[in-house]
Symmetry: C2
Subunit: 497 residues, 2 copies
């Protein structure tokens, strides 16, 4: 029955793909995943041996092994030494259903009765395209996270539970956690701040939404980097703001005092590692930006999303550390350093506005989940956070190295890499005649998720390239798929040169 | 040392309060709480006996006992039979700091550089006033929640943890949880829906924000009930919408087709138990509202925040069940049925918009915390949710009864009660010459949190009364404080009649 199902699925896959070539191992991977999700094979069941499957399906054994090993890496299967491969996937027999199907019936169609703002948001929505595979950007490796220790800490605090921990919180977060975060920022981000300036949020999206709501009115302008992080763009749009793209280059936001840029109410920047191109905002530009913001009475929103992972180049400090006028709202997150679903991040608010932000945070978001904050405070205080980051950094360094090595052959006068000094992704820049969207789609049919750089543009038309993540895929996957990706880039370049 | 600290605190309290009378037991309560929070006495330490404290402080022993019992009810102290009273409050030696101090330095002051929208929000902010005490409204009793079972379920799923559970979720929530919620709504709320129409959110605030963002543009009008739930008002303001108050009476939203109400993009209603007055939206008005919304092409946001707890009167079904045109977005929450800090709620989206809402939810909120959703799915499937609600309902029924009994003497031609058939609060209506804000403040000095009805007004000037919660305070507290509250109401009435 399993073999029948898989055979059927693979046939359908061929039909859908049309002329596009879909690797057999990818077809098998998708079919098997579906079989597990649809309970064709159930948790604990043993799969036929790879040899038997290869024979039944008429595939090379290597093809089968490759699909199985990807499913094992993703937690769907488990190999028991000398016994076989078993289905591990299970939560009360249902699929977790983590990502929406890209074949949903109204992709791209924007319903009429939705508001203008809603339609704008939906035209830009990314959720459909999210598929976590090798080279997915913005996605960390969860494996260094000490899950059982985390569980133990949470349990301890559940046992101690007081009513306060089950209630909403109106003070901007659990005080010891705010203290631990402030201490971390003083030591590692060169910041001068009081513990109480830290607000615990459920993510940078929430931090941004708070800032956009309190600091700007609908119709106000916000300067953003061009290219730009999608999540920020969507939050600003939702708050009714107008995006004013500002070109960025290797030194970050590229504006001169002479620029006829219209004044804005806020400036959103990722100065330590521009998302997605990875440039570091140069010191003279930082000072110029601070000056311009003083002149136009604008706030700076500094999104420091991955500063925990710096691999080479001089250390980069925060804009917040340079600012003596209290114009910078600083954002950090635990989603990259620990895991995304933890939904914990922080916003450092300039002192005069702390009280206002606490009140608005309570009113708009009713913060809760204090038991998790209590566990996190202890996680940091006991040094586990530091150890987790250190271990993750080693993992990422090796992956980054492997990816750089794989990509080396395709670099020449027309292609270059930026942003590899920090974080979990890098950017390959390509000549502007390359169709990077087609290239990314082509990679997808081979089981690789990369993002076209042009998709991050606000108004620029000159951006072509690929944004490639190395956080999620394990080292062997990068060693295997890196050269594949490189060869695709070379083919795209060669075909048009 | 403890006695010195307390003496000092109580002296300060007297000075601050000025001419207002602050009950001695309330002063002692505040001073002792501060002593615990500031670690003047530490966890596990035994307090002096009530007799000794009374002697040292020159207070009646009853005064001391009353303060101690309130602190015990709140989890700060623990009485061990035959051994004495011990400090129980502790999370790694730090205070949880749950509520912002009302004496903060910029209460009420709206900073200049904040946006117009921000200023509007801050003028209406409630966070400062939140103090959980007997009669705090909107606050459930946490005690029926089976905390250790909840912990066990979460642990189980932590052990099974797969990568997906640590990641963001883009499908609107964990499918088995959506299924369990849909099933509950079919059985108990008379709703016709598919599992996939359920979106899991972090709270009604998030559900409202999603709707406001996708369904309305800045400047659009939203009809709201007058008086109105604060949280909804703040979310609409944050989204740039204009509130159009519509009078409500005992039959809910009171509008006639002849009304010159300007058209709106959305209508926000709490039809099963109007917040805060508790009216049930009458059937003819429901039909009229549905018709008017069809005519003006408006959406209905139905907030069904406490329908789990109905004590008397005929069962009330949802607006959603009446709507055949897919105009109703239905919202429910676990914050009242389980505990507020759980941050789990749901939004039922009309079928054509499900896909759009999932995408926007992912883009704006990056939903996570799947492990908690997994545990909740099982919590419901195994019947624990049902049992918890049933047990809570019994608790609340007794408390409600005690409160009604206590309030009976102050009801006469000029004062009446509404909204006691359902939920965790009721509303006492008072004649319009009564200063209900002063009355609520007066109650506060006696350790009772009630809300002035006039504070919920959108544009009405005729609202006077008190909104009184019976969810949080245990039965003995209601038996003790109910008559006190009643006597205060009577005094206010008597003084002016």
């Amino acid at each position: 029955m399993l073999t029948d199902f898989i055979g059927q699925q693979m046939q359908q896959c061929e039909v859908h793909a049309g002329q596009q070539e879909v690797k057999l191992s990818r077809q098998l991977y998708l079919a098997l995943k579906k079989a597990i999700q649809n309970l064709i094979v159930r948790t604990g069941e043993r799969l036929p041996s790879s040899r038997a499957m290869a024979m039944d399906l008429g595939l090379a054994r290597n093809t089968v092994m490759s699909a199985l090993s990807q499913l094992e890496a993703e937690g769907y299967l488990e190999t028991r030494q000398g016994s076989g491969t078993y289905v591990r996937y299970k939560i009360s027999g249902h699929s977790i259903g983590n990502r929406p199907s890209p074949k949903s019936d109204c992709v791209g169609e924007v319903p009429q009765a939705i508001s203008g703002r809603g339609a704008l948001l939906l035209r830009q929505a990314v959720a459909d395209e999210v598929e976590v595979q090798p080279f997915t950007q913005g996605m960390p490796d969860f494996s260094p996270f000490p899950l059982s220790l985390w569980q133990k800490l949470q349990n301890k605090h559940w046992r101690l539970s007081y009513a306060d921990m089950l209630d909403y919180n109106a003070t901007g977060g659990f005080m010891p956690l705010k203290r631990a975060i402030a201490q971390y920022l003083r030591m590692h981000r060169n910041m001068v701040l009081e513990d109480d300036q830290v607000l615990v949020t459920t993510g940078t999206q929430q931090s941004l939404h708070l800032c956009a709501t309190l600091l700007a009115d609908p119709g106000d302008k916000v300067w953003v980097e061009d290219p730009l992080y999608w999540g920020a763009a969507q939050t600003f749009r939702a708050s009714g703001l107008q995006l004013q793209g500002v070109s960025t280059d290797a030194q970050g936001l590229n504006f001169s005092q002479a620029d006829p840029l219209p004044d804005a109410r806020m400036v959103y920047v990722t100065p330590s590692h521009q998302y997605p191109t990875g440039g570091v905002l140069a010191l003279d530009r930082r000072h110029a930006l601070l000056q311009r913001c003083r002149d136009m009475r604008a706030w700076i929103l500094e999104d420091d999303y991955d500063s925990e992972f710096r691999f080479s180049g001089p250390p980069v400090s925060s804009m917040h550390g340079l600012d003596v006028h209290g114009r910078v709202f600083y954002m950090g997150t635990f989603s990259k350093a620990l895991y995304p679903g933890i939904k914990m991040a922080y916003l450092v608010v300039p002192k005069p506005w702390v009280h206002s932000f606490k009140r608005a945070h309570y009113d708009l978001n009713r913060p809760g989940l204090i038991h998790q904050q209590v566990a996190m405070a202890e996680f940091i205080e006991l040094g586990h956070f530091h150890r987790t980051i250190r271990s993750a950094r080693q993992h990422y360094a090796a992956r980054r190295q492997a990816l750089l090595q794989a990509l080396a052959p395709c670099l020449h006068s027309q292609a270059s890499i930026s942003g590899a000094e920090q974080g979990l992704h890098l950017c390959v820049h390509l000549p502007h005649h390359i169709d990077d969207v087609a290239l990314a789609n082509w990679a997808k049919t081979h089981g690789l998720t990369v993002r076209a750089l042009s998709r991050y543009a606000v108004t620029r038309h000159d951006l072509r390239g690929l944004v490639i993540g190395y956080g999620y895929a394990p080292l062997p996957a990068i060693r295997k798929d890196g050269p594949l990706l490189a060869s695709m880039i070379m083919r795209a370049l060669g075909a048009r040169m």
